[in-house]
């Protein structure tokens, strides 16, 4: 079955109040076109789960600046002054997790399990007494799995069945999120017929993917950020 959808119809399936995972670490892997369509359609009261908040006026930062986001579950927003200001002013709720713990919470949900035990952050203020479990003489922190209603994913290449291939450092959270959301929407500039990938090359098997949106081209959002170029 072809999973091809238009950009507008794929994003229209997201209601206000949805919990949405968004792939990407900085620019690479951020599905800018899906995000910009969400901005255009204007769903509100969203909970976003993303490694970072992109940079000011880019990607998910635009949704936050437009007041569409109630809560951000993330690891680091240090490169985005706009979002830090909104957080300091209490305009958005931000929950911080250690980066690998966020990844593992998502991976765990994607694997159909409910939680795991760790010692990361066990002596820091991110751990409450309720989070601790004494088991066979040792103390652990219980981390619960983290799922979502939707995942928005950028793939370098895809086929109609939803098989995905990522590139460069754009892998990051994408294969994990693609397994942990009930409805997975993928954008790609390079969509083709099944058979184009050697089977062992596929990063995310199509079973996890619901909708694939073909992008006509990659906009300037996906390009080099000049302020990160060392001269």
């Amino acid at each position: 079955m072809k999973k091809n959808r238009t950009l507008e119809s794929a994003i229209a399936s997201i209601p206000s109040g949805a919990v949405i995972m968004v792939g990407g670490f900085g620019n690479p892997g951020t599905p800018f076109s899906l995000i910009n369509e969400l901005l255009r359609q204007g769903q509100t009261n969203l909970t976003l789960i993303k490694n970072d908040a992109n940079e000011a006026s880019h990607g998910v930062s635009r949704l936050i600046e437009n007041g569409q986001v109630r809560k951000l579950i993330t690891t680091h927003i240090g490169l985005n002054k706009n979002v830090i200001d909104r957080f300091n002013q209490g305009e958005i709720e931000v929950a911080f997790h250690p980066q690998g713990i966020l990844a593992e919470k998502i991976r765990t949900a994607g694997a159909g399990s409910f939680g795991f035990l760790t010692d990361i952050g066990i002596h820091s203020e991110i751990t409450r007494p309720d989070d601790l479990l004494d088991w066979q003489g040792k103390t652990y922190k219980v981390e619960m799995a983290l799922r979502a209603d939707f995942a928005l994913i950028h793939a370098a290449q895809a086929d109609w069945l939803g098989n995905l291939v990522y590139q460069g450092s754009a892998i990051n959270f994408s294969p994990l999120m693609a397994m942990a959301a009930d409805h997975v929407i993928v954008e790609t500039p390079d969509l083709g017929a099944p058979g184009r990938f050697s089977p062992e090359q596929v990063h995310t098997p199509g079973a996890f993917v619901d909708s694939v949106v073909q992008l006509e081209s990659l906009t300037s959002d996906y390009g080099i950020l000049e302020h990160h170029v060392r001269r």
């Binding site: 690891t75 300091n88 250690p98 990844a103 460069g168 892998i171």
Partner: protein, 219 residues
């Protein structure tokens, strides 16, 4: 030489050939530019790269290949790319030999605070808690004082901690300082400064042992 350059040039000497090294956002990611091109090291970037290397020429720069600070990197021969769960499995399983990391505060017990200044600036945890807790050796790169001239090397951290007793060494523009069971030991001075002046810029008590071979924290 600027203060930053002095820190970075000294930081390079911390890297053992053949090791796997993570460079944190801020000063540490800049250490890479001071490494010789043929140096035997694998740079781990927590966004999913083992074998990251210096920025490519502008025409071959890849917008889909950055390090954790957003800088456009290239890949060395033998590099690998992977997802964030694998990247942090590498960290939590202590496969990273050395992490260089920035600090808001670091103290005489090797405690590190670098993720939250309540109400003012909360960049977030990023990879810092896992790197600080699980890397074999943590070297903090920091200016000796903050922009208001206040000490960053304290008797006890006041900000929320990233991790307890994790720091082995501190490199500032003024000195190389080891965290030991006896306290902070100054190993090298990187500027022309008297013991008294260096102590005055440091809240924690300093032990001056520039020639000796003290045992290090955790060893």
């Amino acid at each position: 030489m600027s203060d930053v350059e002095r820190i970075l040039r000294r930081a390079v000497l911390e890297i053992t050939p053949g090791s796997i090294v993570n460079l944190g956002i801020g000063l540490p990611t800049k250490v890479m530019h001071y490494l010789p091109d043929d140096f035997d090291v694998q740079i781990h970037s927590e966004n999913g790269i083992l074998g990251a290397w210096k920025q490519a020429e502008p025409e071959s720069m890849d917008p889909f290949l950055i390090d954790a600070s957003g800088a456009y990197v290239s890949l060395r021969e033998g590099a690998s790319l992977f997802d964030s769960a694998v990247s942090f499995a590498m960290i939590r399983r202590a496969r990273v030999d050395l992490t260089m990391i920035g600090a808001f505060e670091v103290d005489a017990h090797g405690n590190l605070a670098n993720w939250k200044i309540p109400g003012r600036f909360s960049p977030g945890i990023g990879g810092a808690m896992e790197l600080a807790q699980k890397t074999k050796r943590i070297v903090v790169l920091t200016t000796h004082t903050d922009k208001h001239g206040r000490p960053k090397i304290l008797e006890t951290c006041r900000l929320p901690l990233t991790a307890k007793a994790c720091v082995s060494r501190i490199i500032s523009e003024l000195a190389v300082i080891d965290v030991t069971n006896r306290g902070l030991v100054v190993r090298e001075k990187l500027a022309d400064i008297s013991d008294a002046d260096l102590q005055a810029k440091t809240e924690a008590a300093l032990i001056f042992a520039i020639e000796s071979g003290e045992e290090q924290h955790g060893e």
